[in-house]
């Protein structure tokens, strides 16, 4: 590193600043973590036990907001939609894994080209993802009409207009957006597998598909666990794509908890209800983060 300039200070200044510089550098982040993250989260949890409407009110009313949530069919529907969305998002991981395997197997020319095409949706805002898929799902001018023109006159692709199918449309758009990302994660996982494993399988004459199902996928359990965490966090966070594609409709069919909560805060101006909803989200994330390492542990124990 000869090009690096090293300034030598003969006399080390022992001022307060230089002695405590490292501590001072850490303080802002420490303060933000404690105050803006933990402080804010605790404040919201406290608010969820009050009856605050537009202004904070510190009179406690117990679990009233939570029972309101439980009674609100839109909230229950949003949790159900979250479950559907989280399960459907696994499609991103499945497709990403398949693409990673195919690219790894084929060693085709233009591998870089394929990777670039699969990943570009990740660079684009979810507002744009929602908008363009809303256009593709347009019943009169979009994909449905295209397939009807081809002769499939009964082709029904108006998922966005159907309360019971709209989540599938959101899932499809979401898979388009993020499959490339999971391909990248899976490619990294595949690269990490020892070459001797493959050589051994060739010598033993094990067919490829069994090799993947019985050896490679179990060996990539860490990649998959990471992906599960990211997918579930992505589902809990999902907001933009709903706004741009469906606005939570039709009939609440695509309302997700984050959408419900922001609506409670901003449009219904009900602090306590929004706080209760976001506390439930926090609990969901916490449960998932506690469960994941335990599952990992159980898997590892079974392996050995």
């Amino acid at each position: 590193m000869s090009h690096t300039r090293v300034r030598i200070h003969k006399a080390e200044r022992q001022s307060f600043l230089s002695k405590h510089a490292a501590t001072l550098a850490v303080l802002p982040v420490f303060g933000i973590a404690l105050f803006f993250y933990f402080g804010s989260a605790i404040w919201s949890i406290v608010m969820s036990f009050t009856a605050s409407k537009f202004f904070p009110d510190y009179a406690f009313v117990g679990l009233r907001q939570y029972s309101r949530l439980a009674d609100d069919s839109l909230w229950s529907l949003s949790l159900q939609n979250l479950g559907v969305f989280a399960l459907g998002s696994l499609g991103s991981l499945v497709l990403g894994f398949v693409l990673a395997v195919l690219l790894d197997e084929s060693k085709v020319r233009g591998e870089g080209f394929f990777r670039t095409v699969y990943l570009y949706p990740m660079a684009v805002s979810l507002i744009i993802t929602g908008l363009v898929w809303q256009w593709l799902f347009n019943p009169g001018l979009g994909l449905q009409q295209f397939f009807r023109d081809l002769g499939l006159t009964d082709f029904d692709f108006n998922w966005v207009g159907d309360k019971h199918k709209v989540m599938y449309a959101v899932i499809l758009a979401s898979i388009w957006q993020s499959a490339g990302f999971y391909m990248v994660l899976c490619s990294a996982g595949l690269k990490g597998i020892d070459a001797e494993v493959w050589q051994a399988s060739r010598i033993d004459g094990i067919p490829k598909y069994r090799m993947y199902l019985e050896v490679i996928i179990p060996m990539m359990s860490f990649t998959f666990l990471t992906s599960f965490v990211l997918l579930s966090i992505g589902a809990v966070k999902a907001y933009d794509i709903i706004v741009a594609m469906t606005n939570g409709g039709p009939g609440g069919g695509s309302t997700l908890p984050a959408y419900y909560i922001v609506d409670a805060y901003i449009n219904r101006r009900n602090i306590a209800l929004g706080a209760a909803g976001s506390t439930v989200l926090l609990l969901i994330v916490a449960a998932f983060l506690i469960a994941m390492p335990l599952i990992n542990l159980a898997l590892n124990r079974r392996k050995s």
């Binding site: 590193m1 090009h3 690096t4 090293v6 030598i8 200070h9 006399a11 230089s18 510089a21 850490v26 420490f30 973590a33 803006f36 993250y37 804010s40 989260a41 919201s44 608010m47 690219l103 197997e105 084929s106 060693k107 085709v108 699969y118 990943l119 949706p121 990740m122 660079a123 684009v124 805002s125 744009i128 908008l131 363009v132 256009w135 593709l136 001018l141 009409q145 295209f146 023109d149 388009w176 990302f181 990248v184 994660l185 070459a195 493959w198 050589q199 010598i203 966070k237 907001y239 933009d240 909560i261 922001v262 805060y265 901003i266 929004g274 706080a275 976001s278 989200l281 926090l282 994330v285």
Partner: protein, 301 residues
């Protein structure tokens, strides 16, 4: 023919022999090609729709190339489209996004890189406590801290300003960026830093003259991740900005959701393209570094 692994690696032969069967190779290639087409369809539809007139769009051939390509919709999207508040198009949103992006990029990188450096090389009391706190912060869902942050920014008189949006982006980025910098710096050989410290190089001097020159890659990766993340953000801009400060994504959404007339999909798609072009350009130019950025920043939020 079997070759022992040592000989194989000495000959630099590939560890994995691609399928010898040419039929299966062609099949795999065709599957990959089909998926590439499927992935490209939305972008293709965006581009051709944005170049059509509404009359042509109403004919209902979504995949057809434009008969008379025109940039009229792009002009309307940039200059004239109505967002429900004003009919100034997307250009104000573009400049708002720039005004939000630049301060938040500088603030978040400056604060998190220095903190990461302090945690990696200097004895900081409770340093490990802070690292675990930051990991927890990275998983706290945004909705639960959103309302208190609105109150705090309102008290600081920066709510509904682009600077307020920048501050929130900085706060949201700090946990993950600090961890990324700390982990990267921790991989730099200690000898280099020790030498500088014995020679009396002070805290900031070591950072500026030794650490930063060793870290151009991580700075670029973090910058790409922050630029695309902040440019594509919607919720923070919506909740912390106002009509004068809305970023381009919020502006775009307002344009597409004004219910004052027919839905002009050519203008919507042109507006979407205009909003997508900056991050797409970064994506196509930066390649591998972009991939590292999104994988490193995956936990963000």
């Amino acid at each position: 023919m079997r070759i022992a692994p040592e000989i194989r690696s000495a000959l630099a032969l590939p560890n994995r022999i691609p399928s010898k069967n040419p039929v299966s190779r062609v099949v795999i290639f065709l599957i990959l090609l089909a998926f590439a087409v499927l992935f490209a369809v939305p972008l293709y539809v965006m581009i051709v729709t944005s170049l059509k007139s509404m009359d042509e769009i109403r004919m209902g051939h979504i995949f057809a190339l434009p008969v008379n390509p025109t940039f009229e919709a792009w002009d309307i999207a940039w200059n004239k489209a109505s967002s429900g508040f004003a009919a100034h198009g997307l250009k104000s949103g573009f400049w708002n996004s720039v005004a939000i992006l630049v301060p938040s990029l500088l603030m978040s990188v400056a604060v998190s890189s220095i903190c990461g450096y302090a945690l990696a090389f200097w004895k900081v009391r409770f340093g490990n406590v802070l690292l675990s706190l930051l990991l927890v912060c990275a998983f706290i869902p945004f909705p639960i801290i959103m309302y208190p942050l609105i109150k705090i920014t309102a008290a600081l008189k920066i709510y509904n300003t682009s600077f307020g949006v920048s501050v929130i982006h900085t706060i949201l980025a700090l946990p993950i960026l600090t961890m990324i910098f700390r982990n990267y710096f921790a991989s730099i050989p200690l000898d280099l830093i020790k030498a500088a410290r014995i020679d009396g190089g002070r805290f900031l001097g070591t950072f500026w003259h030794i650490i930063l020159p060793l870290s151009p890659n991580i700075l670029i990766v973090v910058a790409i991740m922050q630029i695309t993340g902040i440019w594509n953000d919607f919720l923070v801009g919506l909740t912390f900005g106002n009509v004068q400060a809305y970023p381009m994504t919020v502006n775009l959404n307002n344009i597409t959701q004004t219910q004052t007339g027919v839905r002009v999909y050519n203008v919507y798609m042109a507006a979407a393209m205009l909003t997508a072009i900056p991050p797409l350009v970064i994506y196509f130019l930066s390649g591998r570094l972009f991939i590292r950025g999104i994988t490193a920043g995956a936990l963000k939020g």
